[in-house]
């Protein structure tokens, strides 16, 4: 009966109930959409970072943060060891190398990423951003960004000389431009080059050296287990075994900060929704004061009256959150399939710590967070009904009966 009364009470003033429920639903849908966009952009940023400058698991020499030129010898052995950590995962060796790239028209300072061409094309990175030419095939091939190609005024097939430093000595090596990539981020397109690992090893003077050996998983979510397994596998070996978070601390910090800002906005949204619900409940309770007096006069106890109001709050919250979750799921699905194109407003694009951020965002499901926020939204709605319920339980019957509300 309490449930039936609560249900009918909600539909006494249909317009008010629908407006309140819509406010909850819109709030919930906005929360879901925000979660989907955030999760999609973080996932994309991590994937791009993992494929271009790190991995889900990264093995590198100890103390590399103090000396960026520090490299691990015997990288092939490390790669074999790392390959045994996770089935079907890909292992990549990379050398990061600063230098000067010279064409017949000019020179430019560059950051070279030396990769194993076959693996690198499988895990993505710059391979996915190629706009002309082909991916690396021989040890003489080099890929450069579109901005750099413009600066150096070169096209595919032309010669380029890379000058790098190794052990205090300058070394030059001749390359032929094989292809051009364009990420949209000016600092990446105008500064980064991709060359074969063997060529970089030749420049730095070490046959089997690498700046890092990285593991790339098909299931990105399995990285904690892979890191743990890798740490066990490399026990006693003089290297650092890092997760993508340890290898890209700036990216991790950016995601944490952005998530914190997002949570602040969601909290503000919660407050707005709860104030709306609180206002509705207070109005609904005050205008029924006389009726509560009648219920008390026929023997309803104060706590039963409070329960009635709380059940109304719970029903309103439940259906508002349910409707909002359905709406949010529908909008989220659209964002996951079609994405949001910010290329016009973001222009040239942005990068953080050398990782290019997408200008066309695609959402990604984050079901656990959506469920947590749905429960939180329901609880907030319920809390908004507590004070009116408490107030109504404190009514004096005779005063309530005199109320003309």
């Amino acid at each position: 009966m309490l449930l039936r009364m609560a249900f009918r009470n909600l539909f006494r003033n249909k317009r008010r109930t629908l407006i309140t429920m819509t406010a909850i639903a819109i709030g919930m849908a906005l929360i879901d959409v925000t979660i989907t966009i955030q999760h999609g952009s973080y996932t994309d940023l991590i994937n791009r970072g993992v494929s271009s400058i790190a991995g889900h698991v990264v093995v590198r020499s100890k103390g590399v943060s103090d000396d960026p030129e520090s490299r691990v010898p015997d990288s092939s052995a490390h790669a074999d060891r790392l390959a045994g950590v996770a089935k079907d995962a890909k292992v990549q060796r990379r050398i990061m190398l600063g230098g000067l790239l010279t064409s017949t028209s000019g020179s430019a300072a560059v950051q070279a990423v030396a990769v194993e061409a076959a693996v690198s094309s499988e895990i993505g990175s710059m391979y996915d951003e190629m706009i002309s030419g082909d991916w690396i095939k021989t040890d003489r091939d080099i890929i450069i960004g579109a901005g750099l190609a413009e600066t150096l005024d070169v096209t595919e097939g032309e010669k380029l000389v890379f000058m790098g430093q190794s052990g205090g000595e300058m070394t030059s090596r001749l390359f032929r431009l094989r292809g051009v990539f364009k990420t949209g981020a000016a600092d990446v397109d105008g500064f980064m080059v991709v060359m074969p690992l063997a060529a970089a090893q030749e420049i730095v003077g070490g046959n089997d050296v690498a700046t890092m050996v990285t593991l790339h998983l098909d299931d990105a979510g399995a990285w904690p287990e892979a890191v743990a397994a890798a740490r066990t596998a490399f026990e006693g070996v003089d290297v650092d075994v890092l997760s993508w978070k340890g290898a890209m601390p700036d990216v991790d910090a950016f995601i944490k900060a952005d998530r914190r800002i997002g949570q602040g906005m969601l909290f503000a949204l919660f407050i707005i929704v709860s104030m709306g619900v609180f206002n509705t409940f207070l109005m609904s309770v005050l205008e029924r004061t006389r009726e509560f007096g009648v219920l008390q006069s026929i023997g309803m106890k104060p706590n039963q009256i409070a329960k009635l109001v709380l059940v109304e709050g719970a029903l309103l919250g439940f259906f508002g959150v349910l409707l909002g979750s359905l709406l949010g799921a529908a909008f989220s699905y659209s964002l996951i399939v079609n994405g949001l194109d910010f290329s016009d407003s973001m222009g040239e694009g942005m990068s953080t710590s050398g990782v290019v951020m997408a200008t066309h965002f695609y959402g990604a499901w984050d079901i656990p967070r959506m469920i947590i926020f749905a429960i939180a939204c329901f609880i907030v709605t319920f809390i908004a009904a507590i004070w009116p319920a408490w107030k109504v339980s404190r009514l004096e019957p005779v005063k309530a009966l005199r109320n003309q509300g």
Binding site: N9, G299, K301
Partner: protein
């Protein structure tokens, strides 16, 4: 054992900086099965007295006992229980719950007692039939006339088989014919079930039907006569 025992009861209300004394030392005893009309002009203290007897309000001083239980010694929840189990109310404005049907309104007290649904519904249907509302059980208050709503209110008041029904101006909102019907109905219930009825009223028809008339004036019992 008397059903109502009131001893030297006063009730003061504060209105701004003024204190209004609504009751001034009322003494009254009502026995089981009585059919009592409390008469008096507006502001004489009739409704205040009824509210004190029903435990809806507390006295400033003095004692109100229902079936030997002192109301001021009881908690709000205990007074609610007392009303649920022993007292029925009938109001001038009917005061039915608008979202509930006639039968749901009438069975409210039984529901609050936790009575089994089948027995509760059967008993309430019988009571509604006995107050002349057969076939109207599923109508909401806004689908009933004033007289019909007051019948539902009476059914609600007696559904829990109370010892005492307190009725505040039960005929004031009804036309003369319907008012007569309601008075007759309550008189029948008094006779048939032995329920004690106490009315606060201006209505001479109620006074005519009552077997005891208490006249109040300025918060005091001016006259108490039995027919």
């Amino acid at each position: 054992m008397s059903i109502v025992q009131i001893e030297n009861v006063t009730r003061d209300y504060t209105q701004g900086s003024h204190t209004v004394r609504a009751l001034r030392g009322v003494d009254l005893t009502i026995e089981p099965g009585e059919f009592v009309a409390i008469m008096g002009a507006s502001g004489s203290g009739k409704t205040t007295l009824l509210n004190l007897v029903g435990g809806l309000d507390g006295p400033t001083s003095g004692s109100v006992r229902i079936e030997d239980r002192e109301l001021k010694d009881m908690t709000a929840a205990e007074r609610s229980e007392l009303r649920r189990d022993r007292i029925g109310f009938v109001f001038q404005a009917y005061n039915l719950v608008p979202v509930l049907s006639a039968v749901e309104n009438a069975e409210m007290v039984l529901l609050l007692r936790g009575e089994d649904e089948g027995a509760r519904r059967e008993l309430t249907m019988n009571i509604l039939a006995s107050v002349g509302l057969e076939g109207m059980e599923n109508r909401r208050p806004n689908e009933l006339s004033g007289g019909q709503q007051q019948r539902v209110a009476i059914a609600r008041a007696i559904a829990g088989d109370p010892a005492l029904v307190l009725a505040d101006e039960p005929t004031a909102n009804l036309d003369s014919e319907t008012g007569n019907e309601i008075i007759s109905l309550m008189a029948e219930l008094n006779q048939a079930r032995g329920i004690t009825f106490v009315f606060a009223t201006h209505d001479p028809k109620v006074m005519a039907a009552a077997r005891r008339v208490i006249v109040m004036e300025d918060g005091q019992v001016k006259e108490d006569r039995r027919k």
